[in-house]
Assembly symmetry: C2
Homo-oligomer: 303 residues x 2
């Protein structure tokens, strides 16, 4: 499989990205930026960074940030009595500075994140979904707050009453994203949160149309294992959005854009691959990536 495009949020999608990097020649990850946040004066792109750190084999075992990172700047902010609820290790912060300096110089988010990818010596492309700001706001317990505040200050605890994607109507996929989709041999929707990670990507004006218009088969990997989300606040968001925590639920959620689904249980979809979707080890990730691409090829052949 020559050119693969993966739509991804954080952990699940990022792990699959790492597997795909082992088994395909040309990987482009389109990462959600609706969780981006400006904090301490720097621009943080949590999902593009998580994908990049996974691809660089540099992710910390805690699941975010860089392995072996230090915390001098956060400790200095804490000692100075400043808010420091958004934890950034020193090396993680250095990557944000690389991005921020370029943004301040007038470069696009796509260009600025490419500098981070380059700094981390990653060969794959990691494209922010858009150069325009889109912000996920979450309504819960009577308040509507930015996503990071919901996650960190409120612990990501549901129930979730509402999700707003602010700025979406003025946003567009970047040219780099549309070009990668048009030239792809396969499109994979990663096992990320369908509401707040994949949702913003698919909701970008023109993005879903570009998936349907392109020649490549589109397959999704379910984020659910045994009917549960593995990580993060996926469940309360799916409950609010009316997405059942099952392969069938995911197949329905993506029905307008996918040609097939990969999950650990039958989905009822016409084209499906039932396989072990856990990705604990490098071998797991490469095996799943290979199976997903083989499945996409088979779906593409009958499309």
């Amino acid at each position: 499989m020559d050119s693969v495009v993966l739509l991804s949020g954080g952990t699940g999608g990022a792990k699959l990205a790492r597997g795909l990097a082992d088994v395909c020649d040309d990987l482009t990850v389109v990462a959600n930026t609706a969780d981006d946040v400006d904090v301490y004066g720097v621009h943080v792109s949590p999902d593009p960074d998580l994908v990049t750190y996974w691809l660089a084999d540099a992710i910390d075992e805690r699941g975010w940030g860089l392995e072996g990172d230090t915390w001098q700047v956060m400790e200095a902010l804490a000692a100075a009595g400043q808010q420091h609820w958004f934890r950034l290790g020193d090396r993680d912060l250095a990557m944000c500075l690389i991005r921020t300096e370029r943004l301040r110089a007038g470069e696009s988010l796509t260009q600025a994140h490419a500098a981070v990818v380059d700094a981390m010596d990653v060969e794959a492309r990691v494209l922010p979904m858009s150069d325009h700001p889109v912000e996920t706001w979450v309504g819960a317990r009577g308040r509507t707050v930015p996503f990071q505040e919901f996650m960190i200050a409120q612990g990501g605890e549901g129930p979730v009453d509402a999700v707003e994607l602010r700025g979406l109507e003025r946003a567009a996929p970047s040219d780099a994203v549309l070009q990668a989709i048009a030239l792809a041999d396969a499109i994979v929707i990663g096992p990320s949160n369908p509401v707040i990670s994949i949702g913003p990507i698919l909701a970008l004006p023109g993005l879903s149309e570009s998936l349907r218009a392109g020649p490549a088969p589109v397959v999704a990997v379910s984020p659910f294992v045994g009917g549960r989300a593995l990580k993060g606040p996926t469940e309360p968001f799916c409950e609010q959005a009316g997405i059942e925590l099952s392969a069938a639920g995911i197949a329905r959620a993506y029905r307008d854009v996918i040609d097939g689904i990969v999950a650990d249980e039958p989905s009822g979809a016409a084209a499906e691959l039932v396989t072990d979707t856990l990705m604990h080890t490098p071998d797991d990730r490469a095996r799943l990536a290979r199976e997903v691409l083989d499945f996409a090829a088979s779906v593409g052949a009958t499309r």
Copy 2:
């Protein structure tokens, strides 16, 4: 002496600020911002920071930055192959983040630096000279470059052919600066570089007029000791500006705004105090500060 205003650049002025904090009730330092620089996406104010770190008893013995600081972020930038010619320790960077976050939120530089002063637990006010950007550019060896580039990339080596203060005509002293000057009992021009540290402050439209219009005596402390500048690139700048490296040279350079001068040698000025101006120890700094204020009071009485 109740209210003292000190005009200051980096080291010399900052040391006198520390002495003045010991001997006066209400100290306001007006610090040069024409050396400010945006680097790594953050706003660095070298002179206001140096003054603040001296006032906090936190200056590193190397003469800049914070004592005992670490270098994790710079090392990460270096490891990532990024430019890192402007060295910022991790805690120093944290102070810049505090400032930058506020600037991005729309606060003035005055407000943003006040947060740094507060974070460092400093009681005195440290006011950026202006909320408008003014940039010192230096012409040397056929090129005109920003001051920090001249200092760091070119080692601050003269001869200097030209100094430009870009943005000056559109800048103004901040309201806080003008108010402090109007309410001061004494104004002290610190022993800083008269061309690139004190020069930009005095050149702000309306600043010199406010010194002359106010009730307070204005006295300058010469930056020269034994006819030499103690530190930094003062000498080539004075040579380019035609300022003799002596008390008399300083008295002439400031003749339009000062009522008296403090130096280690006679200056020929009508009102002068000849004393030891070295400030190696806390006692030196407090003693000189006391003498300067007593001298200012005597000059004020006969004004």
